[in-house]
């Protein structure tokens, strides 16, 4: 488990992380989301004991990272895939890391096999693509078979197969009871991977909740009803409004029941004998919910979105 209490990180002229407190539980994939510059990487660097917090603390199983006797056996992290000496081979990179924590050399070959780098392990890191570097970074995180794993943007540069592989790996690691904390800016990917979400913006926690709860916050959840019978739809709208539902009449042949329930709408339509051509639930995507939640805390907003926001 990762615990962050009252963490603040101030740089010369800027507060990167402003008094955040989160607990990242074991057995789940916890997604860490936020706009660029929101403080995600800073938070991860503080957890790993690389940056010193201005105030507060981050602990892993109750201890600061820097005090762990065999840190890689407790925490594995991929923070910066390109942070490898370009002149060193992937295998030597991992082998040196293994020695530092008393991990046997055969484990190095095991993780190389697991991440699919066994064939290029003897090549210098300079020649690795971003995707290969990500795999090498993931291999390094897995090396100590740790209970706690941190990944900062792990799917950057990966192809479709690689993205799916990372997703399945993270799901598996969580199902084994490990703590998996992963930052990403790819919402559709997160939606498929994470159980819990921590969303930060401008250095503050905007939301810390299960995935379903975050998506339910999105305002675009609606039941879509289409019918050829305009008058039938009028009747249905009246009936639902009397049940206190919010109706958007999009066209004579279509209405939307905001935050509606498909079963209830279907039941009513059947009672009123309205012929339906479509009855569907449109859910907010994580992306919709995320954009609404972070609209006010976006650091570098693009011109197009600014006008809408």
């Amino acid at each position: 488990m990762i615990a962050i209490r009252g963490l603040t990180k101030r740089y010369a002229d800027k507060v990167a992380v402003d008094n955040i407190s989160i607990e990242v539980a074991a057995g789940k994939v916890t997604g860490f989301l936020g706009p660029n510059g929101a403080g995600k990487s800073t938070t991860m660097r503080v957890i790993m004991g690389l940056d010193h917090p201005t105030a507060g603390e981050a602990t892993i199983s109750g201890k600061p990272y820097a005090t762990l006797r065999w840190p890689m056996r407790e925490v594995g992290a991929l923070l910066d895939a390109k942070g490898v000496h370009p002149g060193r081979s992937g295998r030597d990179h991992l082998l040196s890391m293994a020695y530092s924590n008393g991990i046997p050399a055969k484990r190095v070959d095991q993780v190389l096999e697991e991440v699919g780098l066994a064939k290029v392990a003897k090549k210098r890191a300079r020649g690795y693509s971003l995707g290969m570097s990500q795999r090498l970074g993931i291999a390094g995180a897995l090396l100590g078979d740790p209970q706690v794993l941190l990944f900062d943007e792990p799917v950057n540069g990966l192809d479709t197969e690689g993205v799916r592989w990372v997703r399945e790996m993270m799901r598996r690691l969580a199902s084994e009871g490990r703590t998996v904390f992963v930052s990403s800016h790819l919402m559709s990917e997160m939606q498929q991977t994470a159980d819990q979400l921590v969303i930060i913006g401008k250095g503050k926690v905007i939301m810390d909740a299960p995935m379903a709860e975050v998506i339910a916050r999105g305002s675009r959840n609606a039941v879509i009803v289409r019918s050829p019978q305009t008058q039938g739809l009028d009747k249905l709208a009246q009936a639902l409004e009397s049940d206190a539902a919010v109706i958007e009449r999009v066209s004579p042949h279509e209405l939307h029941v905001v935050n509606g329930d498909v079963e209830v709408v279907g039941q009513r339509a059947s009672e009123l004998g309205v012929q339906l051509h479509e009855l569907a639930l449109r859910q907010s995507s994580l992306e919709d919910a995320y954009l609404e939640l972070t609209a006010e805390s976006v650091e570098y907003i693009s011109a197009g979105r600014q006008s809408k926001a």
Partner: protein, 278 residues
């Protein structure tokens, strides 16, 4: 991966061991950190380039010194006094030290340049242990390498001196370890500066300034108290150490002064490492 077992296995009494795919919890610590640095040192080409350059500089320069002394033509009659072979190495060491400085500098600045310093601190988060492991590695490697260099320089100088070579074993037994000790301290000093400055250019400039340039410049200034200051610079102390003492102090004091500079550089480097973000 099927070996990814995380079952908690109860053993005799209260001892609970987690079966890990990464093997039992053993090793690590300072020894693990030194092995970590050892593998990193030998797995990049730049190390080998530095070592090769050092040998070339040493062998060439010691040879040149020997040849320069024994050289004979019409305007320059050959001397008849013998020349101590070790002195060729002592002179050449002042040139070969640049290879040592580059080697020691790269041990730390290459990690800051590539960002792999973060991987290093993930593996060895204790700042003291991390710095100690690098200092021990650089100290031992450069000392052993210094012995080899000094030996090679002596042979090269001896060959070029031909029959003018004066081989006195007691003198060589002092000179060769002195060269090795000097180079090891230059290496650790440069490493300390690297921890302070983090950049290759800055590290090389400052080390070069303190070890070579300043002592040379100040020697040309006649003012007494400036001379006294110059005597305590690492470069001057190094020269005294290599020469087996000078008019101001002996080799022992020289080693102490150079050692103090080395400890100060590493100590300052440690405080920077501890305070600043990686």
């Amino acid at each position: 991966m099927n070996t990814h077992s995380t079952t908690e296995v109860a053993q005799s009494g209260d001892v609970i061991t987690r079966e890990s795919a990464a093997g039992a919890e053993r090793g690590g610590g300072l020894w693990g950190a030194i092995r970590f640095e050892w593998v990193k040192l030998w797995s990049v080409r730049s190390t080998w380039w530095c070592l090769a350059t050092g040998v070339v500089l040493m062998v060439l320069w010691a040879g040149v010194v020997g040849y320069d002394y024994s050289y004979e033509d019409t305007a320059h009659p050959a001397p008849t006094d013998p020349f101590p072979v070790g002195d060729t190495t002592i002179q050449a060491a002042q040139l070969a030290q640049f290879a040592i400085m580059a080697l020691a500098m790269l041990v730390i600045t290459a990690e800051y340049a590539s960002g792999s310093i973060r991987a290093t601190l993930q593996c060895v988060p204790s700042r003291g242990r991390m710095l100690a492991s690098k200092a021990i590695l650089v100290g031992i490697v450069t000392f052993v390498y210094g012995l080899i260099l000094a030996g090679a320089g002596t042979i090269s100088g001896g060959i070029m001196l031909k029959d003018l070579a004066e081989v006195e074993s007691s003198e060589l037994f002092r000179q060769i370890p002195s060269v090795a000790a000097y180079l090891a301290m230059v290496g650790m000093f440069t490493l300390g500066v690297g921890f302070i400055l983090r950049s290759a250019v800055g590290t090389l400039s400052i080390s070069f300034l303190l070890l070579v340039v300043l002592p040379l410049i100040i020697r040309g200034i006649g003012v007494d108290f400036i001379q006294t200051i110059a005597d305590f610079l690492p470069g001057s102390a190094g020269t005294y150490l290599l020469d087996g003492g000078g008019d101001r102090y002996g080799a022992g004091v020289a080693a102490l002064i150079l050692g103090a500079w080395t400890v100060a550089a590493l100590g300052f480097g440690y405080s920077v490492l501890k305070k600043r973000d990686a």
